[in-house]
Point group: C2
């Protein structure tokens, strides 16, 4: 079959704030081919990602993403891999292309899964899945007291793992120690505690190292993104002195090489992949395989809808040793309403990867209308982008 | 002073082809502050780069580039560095931001240079400049015969160095050998010959290695971008067996880390930086300093206007050991007409970095009108981008 159309739905909450909440807007992708439909989601920055699809060509190595996708043959997984390889050459100089392609790639696996009646994880090569222990992913409270309450609430909800992240972490050493202690206290002594520094230390190893004692004292499993995503040397230096607490990172990887380098040169213990950025499911699966070889634990990264959550689980669905998964618990109404199906913990408190065709998640058309952002892009008097019909 | 405005001029040739010619369009940036004006140029993909400046915020770590620049204080170089650090956090999840910022950053140095009456290279810390031997940068001919003619023409024009690149290189081993022999023959035995593979071997070390014998036999100085910009392992493996011919790469680096990693892990002998992608002059200067420490030769990368050419020269203007520079010789009329000043070889056939305030290049306002692409971006019924007034 031929890829007939690729549509982008730019959705947003009525008010978007500076909070580190990635579910405040969304770029949902619908692909049609041979009468079938697939859905995916790009992360993040909807307008530049749309522009990377529709923009006029700059030259042979800077073509819009559309040039590599529209009208192409889609008969099986190899076609998706072929398109990715072509895109790497055709859109070499279009930086945003990786994010745009990520949502399309997801949608292609979803579509192919519907055609074949198979879940995406099976198309990726797994024969069975293993449930994951979800960690509730939340922001730190403004004060340790707020964080304590959040941690208690998470525990009450039945979560055995939680991640606290971003500001005010990194502002003062004393504050950071108090925040981590509060999180541990609220979660209880047995809970899996994860800390996300949100790149706040840039590449200042010394500043990050000052936090290690409190992280180890509070039995933190990983310290996530202490540094910028490319600061491999800083990661490596901190990893060498981090003790029991391991480093985690990789969410910004926009190709599989970046993730592999963070493993090889940054010596992270956990590699976190966002399928909405790395180029979709296939490069993520390649990273998962690579991580196994290197003794590193693969973890999904996701902070938006259940569509993105399902996509994020597929690449490591069949890896038993990768036991935990990110599971956003404080999503915007947009992200919640986007899908009519829900991925919820089972009676054992674990997340099971959907055993249904494609990504196994149903889109709620009403949400595509409710949260639609009206965008129009005109070039030389011609409209090259307008919101698609739901 | 405060940064009052940042304007983007999207320019293009009437017809844009799939040729590997980066001068077919341009994104020119004008910044005003305190009554002064500075100019810069982003590379490449104008529409996504504009979108990255004007787009609505997605969340705190995915803000438009405008949020970090407009209204900011610009009193000296430290303000430019400060804004770059803020941008890394504020636009962490906006992939295209690096390309957008690159043109702005250039314009800020240009503006600051005009205010202080000093060239950008002086503001970057150099006390004097050293002229560079330009290499004529052209595409391979469709046949070895065409390449031979191009090489002869370059020699006749007085160039002592030339780079041939892109398709059909990489298509067949025999064809590649014939192309390189033709280039050498046309350039004469003494000419500096450079070959640009345009990432055609992806990460296939074996395929690239088959070309080494002919590259060495024809005394090629460097083989540029045999692989994708992130394939450090492939670079490292090829470098280990490349003999006298060194590897070159780095043009896609969109931060200084990527360039440093290509040096440290990819073992390139030449690191090529495009100021229109890496985040402007300052990260490029940091790479130049790093290259000196590592015994690697810094080279500019540029394939557009004389504005971009001047910017590309500033970061290594004062490094005497870096003797050659890229010098595009087959620019589009748009790229040629964009500046009223020309950077041409001196009587010695060398390129001198402009010794004039800022980037030392005058913009030709007529070209901003002649080649303007009419673009309008509307969000929620409000125009957030329209072509600025020249």
């Amino acid at each position: 079959m031929k890829i007939d159309s690729v549509d982008f739905f730019y959705l947003a909450m009525p008010v978007v704030t500076t909070a580190g909440d990635g579910s405040q807007d969304a770029l949902v992708v619908r692909v049609t081919a041979g009468g079938h439909v697939g859905w995916g989601e790009c992360e993040a920055a909807p307008l530049p990602s749309i522009a990377a699809f529709v923009c006029p060509m700059s030259h042979g190595a800077c073509r819009p993403v559309s040039a590599t996708v529209l009208g192409e043959t889609l008969s099986g997984p190899d076609d998706i891999k072929r398109m990715a390889a072509t895109l790497a050459l055709n859109s070499m100089d279009l930086l945003q292309a990786a994010h745009t392609w990520s949502g399309i790639e997801m949608a292609l696996w979803d579509l192919l899964g519907h055609v074949r009646g198979e879940p995406a994880w099976k198309l990726l090569g797994y024969s069975k899945t293993h449930p994951k222990t979800p960690y509730a992913s939340v922001l730190f409270g403004a004060t340790p007291e707020e964080t304590l309450l959040r941690a208690k609430e998470i525990r009450t909800k039945g979560f055995r793992a939680a991640k606290f992240g971003w500001a005010p972490y990194g502002e003062t050493l004393e504050g950071d120690i108090a925040q981590v202690e509060a999180a541990r206290e609220g979660l209880g002594p047995e809970g899996i505690l994860l800390i996300d520094a949100g790149q706040i230390f840039a590449e200042d190893v010394e500043a990050a190292a000052k936090r290690l004692a409190s992280l180890n004292a509070n039995k933190v499993t990983w310290l996530e993104e202490p540094f910028g995503g490319h600061a491999y040397e800083a990661y490596g230096k901190l990893a060498a002195q981090s003790g029991a607490v391991k480093l985690a990172g990789g969410e910004a990887a926009h190709n599989r090489y970046m993730a592999q380098h963070l493993i090889d040169y940054g010596h992270v213990g956990y590699i976190q992949i966002d399928c909405g950025r790395i180029g979709g499911l296939w490069p993520a699966k390649q990273v998962a395989d690579y991580a196994v070889k290197r003794g590193v634990t693969y973890v999904n990264h996701t902070f938006t809808s259940n569509l993105a959550l399902s996509a994020s689980l597929q690449p490591y669905a069949g890896i038993e040793a990768s036991r935990i998964c990110e599971y956003p618990t404080a999503l915007s109404s947009l992200a919640t309403e986007l899908t009519s199906s829900r991925i919820a913990p089972n009676s054992n408190g674990e997340i099971e990867v959907p055993d249904a065709p494609g990504l196994g998640v149903k889109i709620n058309p009403a949400a595509l209308k409710t949260y639609a952002v009206d965008v129009e892009i005109k070039v030389k008097g011609k409209t090259i982008f307008a919101p698609p019909v739901v």
